[in-house]
Structure formats: structure tokens, C-alpha cells
Subunit: 413 residues, 2 copies
């Protein structure tokens, strides 16, 4: 092995399920890793399970019991990544590269005890750093860790992104490259907006909003981690060699567009309580039981009635929670004091996101005007410092996203 | 949980791949375990991977490299058992039984560092014994352990039998029940001899000879372990509820037949060296290189030439080793000093086994007479205290096994 050069970097490369779905794809991952190693870099690789494997394993656990022990679920479901890391280590060795696989419990990647949805607490990176120094590639199982009870945990769906970023932080890596089936972060979903452009750079804050507002390219938790530890993340394609999108600190971006991207989220449902008796504490009466049941409430709108005695209250929840929410509200109808509950899952949340809007006025107005021009009715609005979201009818999704993409001057020329 | 009764036993139950091949079969394993638990016993279960899974995993490792790192092979191949133990623990919990899965590294089951074919060195059973006392069923992954380097090892094919017996010894179990797709140990392969009878009891020594002479019902290593630790083993069917065959100490069997069973092994090949120069040290010259290359030589026959100057030497090796053996002998032809090497893989080794032959004369003679009567030529003979094996042409397999079964009075009446 040649000693690593002066300009050598330490890089974590993460590949998702479609990139490791069979022997041929695993070999082409080995080829990509080999190129990065040959350029003089120290490399750790994080892998997901083969596409489809995790779903098969989950199905089996469900066939055994619909209310299964999450600790056993974790033991079963974590095997998918164990297979791919072993296979990639072999494929790398076949190319003459020093490599070994690492399971969560071997490093260890310590997590809390929340089986099925654990959070990484600590990664002991010293031994891997030492071996990287000797030219060995660490092939690390994504999505899994070790709980305080010495049993395997999993991090929840898409947890491999989180493993990659947390590992990059622990290894003090110069960059975390997330290889995926798209070639970067776009100004909008290219399947809807043909004029969407790939962004060269985006800030952590924008990426975080994009991830939580419906862009599927990175898992929200992994962006939070990257932001907290200032890990530069690159999103790029497994299937070509073009540069992707760099997720970086705001000061690394010279010129900001007002808006960086338009997202949409179709997984929410709208709940409306009609004629809620308007009194102090009514919001607590509505949202208290939902919070206790771990239901996340997103947008909330309250409209006062003409006589001030009652009000209509609208909010959104995850679509999957809707049946539970309806049951709960009906149970608490007397305590809350409302006439009727209406639900609508035929809605979409469209958001415009950009750090530039902090310093620009009229950004929201431009959104409302663009939608109004197309005759699109807004059911609810919510805003943050760098994001404006509106709730509209689902049938307007494509029209709204395309119109906003044009209105903010994002279309490729 | 009721406290275990006075007559409670501690039992290890082991199920093979065909018994856990899908959700339905896993549920019926849970049903069987539940019955043994309900009878007041403390239970540990050892499982194989789903039938077919291990072969699939091995294929993948071979697709990555024909000369793969055995440590990575072990990481990949051990996932099969990790899946089944998690699923069975869930199925048992669904039936209201306390249960948890245990992976090799969690117990731990310590092995040596021979990846791909490790030997169990120690099992820390205290925690499992404690939990069994609280009514919890331990569901233990077979076939796997933890090497001194903190990586997963596997025990070689059929290693789950070995795990079960070793666990039974560590847990001081009263019995180790090996559930399989046959309902016990037979006097001969029932597919060949329709008059074959299931044995109620058999000694460790006989079982060991049977396993090493071709009976596929138990892995040789597991019988050795059972014998060394005096673990009573029962071989019985997963698919019915009839009692199986007990493998026990000789003094637990009141009356011994002279011969307990007839076995055959089709996986050997015959090698003959013609006109070997007969001198002191010639056997070492032939077998030294084979031993160094880890080739096991089984039967050896040397026939002197009329003039005493040269000899023909015949021996058998595993059929899979034959190409290597031919190459090696040809390379050493000058050093050994022989004229020609002949090989024949169209042969079979038939054995008669029984502790009773220690105290009976004429057992071998009866074998030779029975074969001679059918016109079957014997190429080689080897004997031990409780076994006589002959090498014959493969086309005589069925005829020889049936004739010997009758000749020793084993046919069911």
C-alpha cells in the first residue's frame, strides 16, 4: 500500500438498496469505491440492504404477529445489511483492496433502547480510523446499532443515511457522499417539473426543510445530524459519474436565490372541527390527547365565527394516523365541545423553500398570487423563517408545483 | 407463570431447515414448543436457517469471489439463523409464551478462529439458565458462534446439530431432541430397504459410526459431543408426534442385537497406485503429501506382488478431493516411485455396525458370505471394534444393503 498523500481526504460513501440489489450492482459499487481509494483517499462505505429484502423481512415478522416484539423485529430486519456488507467486503478484496465488514454491534454503534426506531448516541471510531490509516476500507452496515441491553436496534426506515452521516462525524470525515438513484437535489421533483434544475449547493437549513416537506432524497434525521456536526454531505448518483449536490454551511454559498426549491407532500390528511365552543384552553383540549397518543399535528388554522361564540378549527395529521385521530376526537367530543368532525385526505401540502426569503419581502405574496391566478384555493398556510407551506386540493399538485417553479424564476433556461 | 414442577425437565429442542421453511412451519414449531412448555419443562430451542436460504447466501458469496474471505462468508451466511430465531421468538410470544432470541455473539457461544468451520470452545449458559427458571424460552441461532477476534464464525454444514448438543451440555439439559424430517434412526435407509425398522435406542458409539459411515440423520461432530458430555439425544420427526430414537449410553440398553444397522456412503472414490516400488517408508511417501493438503484417506489396502519387489496400493478419498489427489500423486510420481495411477469414483462403501459384534464371532464372515452369494466383488475391507466396511461397485448398493439387512436378521417381521 502506498502511504496516503498530503491531499488525501477521508470520505464516507453510502449506497442505498437499489445500488446493491444484486451481485452485478455490488460489483459496480466496488468499482466506484476502488476509484475513490485509488485517488488516495481513506474510505468507509455504508450500505443498505438489497432493495426489497427489508420489506420481505418485515412481512415475515408481521406474518408471525401483528403486534410483534420490536427487539425481535430488529434482530430479523437487521440481517439485510449484514448480507450486503459481507458481500461488498469480498468484492473489494477481489479487486485487491483491503476491506472488512463491520456490524453495528462490532464497532459498536451505540443507540438508545428504542427498538425499531432507535437514535444513534455514540460511535466508537478509533479502531476504524486506525485501520483506514493502514489502507483498509471499512464496510459498515447501515440502519443498525447496539442497544444498552446488548441487543440489535434498527434506526427506522432510511436509517442508513443517518448511519452514514453519524459515521462521517465520528470518523472526522471530510465529506459524506450519499449515492442514490437520483443525481442530486433538484429545484422540484423532475417527474413533475421538466424544467427542474439540479442544485450545485444547498444549505443544511434548506435541505432540512426540503426533507421534512416531502423531498425524498435524504432522511430528515440525517440532515439534522449533518447540520449539527457540520458534515459536508454530497447527494449524487450511483449510476453515473456527474457531480451531485453539496449540502453545506450557508457561508459556503456565494449567491443565494430567494427560493431554492418547491416541494410537495401527499401523505397528510386534513381534519376540521366545526363549531368548536370558543373558550380559553380549547386548543389544549383538542391537541392534548393527540400529543399523548404520539400523533404529530402539522398545520393549524382557527377561524373565528361572526358572533365570537364558536370557531372552526382545521389541522393536518399524517394520513396513516387519520383513523386513530377520528376515533379519539369522537371519544373526546363532549370534553372538547364541537358539533362535527370533517376529514379530507384528498389534499397536498406544497412548500417553497429558500434561505434567501429571510432578506426578501413579498415572497409569500408571490406564492399566493401565482396560485390564485390558476384558481387554486388555499385551505391552510404555515410559515417558517425559510419556508412557506400551503394546503391545497390534491388534484392541483402538478399545476401548483409547476406554476410556483416558474413564478420564482427557477425554470432551466 | 406456574413454577416448574418437581418432575420438570430441561430440554433442548432443535429444528432443521425444512421444519422452519416458511411462516406456517414456524407456527407449527411454536405449537410443538408450546406443548413441551405446557408439560412443565424448561425449554431452549435451536434453529437452522429456512431451507434453501443458506445455499442462496453461499451462492452470493461465490458470485463475489471464488476465493472469498471466510470471515465475510461467515457474516453473510450466519444471517439465515438470525432470521428464523427472531421469527420463532415472535411466534412463541404470540402464543403467550415468554421467549427471546439469542445470537451466537450474544450468549456468547465462543469458538476457535477457524472461520467457515469453527469448533465450539465454550458456551456461557448462566444467563439462559436463569431466564429458563423464570419461564422464558431461549431461542438460539444454530450454526454460529463468536471468534476470539470478535467476529462471527460458522460451524460448517449441519452445524446446528452441534450447537444443540453443545448447548444441552452447557445448560445441563436432561435431553436434546433433534427434530428432523425422518422419525428416527433406522436399521437401514428406508428408501432402499422397505423392511427397515426404526430403532428405539442406539448407543453413542453406534450412532457415531453410523453418522461417519453415511447415515445422514445426525452430524458426526454432534454425536461426538453428545458422547463426550453424556447428553441423551433423541432423533424424532417434526411432522408427527411419535417417539423417535434415543441415543444413549450402552448401559441404558438392555439387549443388544449383534448388528444395529447397515449404512452406505457414496461420496468416496478409489485410487490405485500400480507397481509401487516396495521399500520401507513408501506409505509415508504416498500419504504424507495428502495429509499435508488436508486430504482424508479412508480405507487402505496394499497387495504384495509375487516377486516382492513391487506392490499395488489402493485407498479411498472423498470424491470431491479426487482431482487434487490425482494432480498431487502425479507431481510426486518420481519421489514415490510407481508406474501408474488408476481412479474409480463408481464405488460405494457399505458398513455393518453394532456394539454386539464385540462379543460375537463370525460377524464379518456372515457379511462376506452374504455378498459372495450375490456375486458382489469386494475391493477393500476396513474394520473397527463395532464396524465392518467393504468397498464394492456402486451398481450393487441396493442389492448389498438389502442382502445384509436380511442376513443379520434386521428385517421387520
Amino acid at each position: 500500500m502506498e502511504p496516503p498523500g498530503e491531499d488525501m481526504a477521508r470520505i464516507v460513501m453510502k449506497f442505498g438498496g437499489t445500488s446493491v440489489s444484486d451481485a452485478e450492482r455490488l460489483r459496480s459499487v466496488a468499482e466506484k469505491v476502488s476509484g475513490v481509494v485509488a485517488a488516495g483517499n481513506q474510505v468507509a462505505v455504508v450500505l443498505s440492504a438489497m432493495a426489497g429484502t427489508t420489506n420481505q423481512l418485515i412481512e415475515w415478522t408481521q406474518a408471525m404477529s401483528s403486534l410483534h416484539d420490536a427487539r425481535e423485529y430488529d434482530a430479523v430486519v437487521s440481517t439485510g445489511e449484514q448480507v450486503t456488507v459481507g458481500l461488498l467486503a469480498i468484492a473489494l478484496q477481489e479487486k485487491g483492496i483491503l476491506a472488512r465488514s463491520w456490524l453495528g454491534w462490532q464497532i459498536p454503534i451505540r443507540t438508545d433502547g428504542v427498538h425499531g426506531g432507535a437514535r444513534i448516541e455514540d460511535i466508537e471510531g478509533e479502531e476504524i480510523i486506525r485501520r483506514m490509516g493502514e489502507g483498509e476500507v471499512a464496510v459498515v452496515a447501515g440502519f443498525q446499532g447496539l442497544a444498552p441491553d446488548n441487543r440489535i436496534t434498527t434506526l427506522g426506515r432510511s436509517g442508513s443515511d443517518t448511519t452514514a452521516v453519524a459515521l462521517a462525524a465520528a470518523l472526522k470525515a471530510d465529506r459524506c457522499d450519499i449515492y442514490t438513484d437520483v443525481d442530486g437535489v433538484y429545484t422540484a421533483d423532475p417527474r413533475i417539473v421538466t424544467a427542474a434544475r439540479k442544485l450545485d449547493r444547498i444549505t443544511y437549513e434548506e435541505m432540512l426543510e426540503m426533507a421534512s416537506q416531502g423531498a425524498k432524497v435524504l432522511q430528515t434525521r440525517s440532515v439534522e445530524l449533518a447540520m449539527n456536526h457540520r458534515v459536508p454531505v454530497q447527494v449524487l448518483s450511483s449510476f453515473n459519474n456527474t457531480p451531485g449536490t453539496l449540502v453545506v454551511d450557508e457561508d459556503k454559498i456565494v449567491e443565494h436565490a430567494v427560493v431554492s426549491g418547491i416541494t410537495y407532500a401527499s401523505d397528510e390528511a386534513k381534519v376540521t372541527l366545526l363549531h368548536v365552543f370558543d373558550r380559553p384552553g380549547v386548543a389544549a383540549a383538542v391537541f392534548g390527547p393527540l400529543a399523548e397518543a404520539n400523533v404529530n399535528v402539522d398545520m393549524i388554522v382557527q377561524s373565528a365565527s361572526p358572533d365570537g361564540s364558536s370557531t372552526d378549527m382545521t389541522f393536518t395529521v399524517a394520513r396513516g394516523d387519520l383513523p386513530r385521530v377520528e376515533t379519539m376526537l369522537t371519544q373526546h367530543q363532549a370534553a372538547i365541545g364541537f358539533q362535527e368532525v370533517l376529514t379530507d385526505d384528498n389534499i397536498v401540502k406544497v412548500s417553497v423553500i429558500g434561505v434567501g426569503m429571510r432578506s426578501h419581502a413579498g415572497v409569500a405574496q408571490r406564492m399566493f398570487a401565482a396560485l390564485s391566478e390558476k384558481g387554486i384555493n388555499i385551505h391552510a398556510i404555515s410559515t417558517s423563517e425559510i419556508k412557506i407551506s400551503v394546503l391545497i386540493g390534491a388534484e392541483y399538485t402538478e399545476l401548483a408545483v409547476r406554476s410556483l417553479h416558474s413564478a420564482y424564476g427557477l425554470d432551466a433556461t
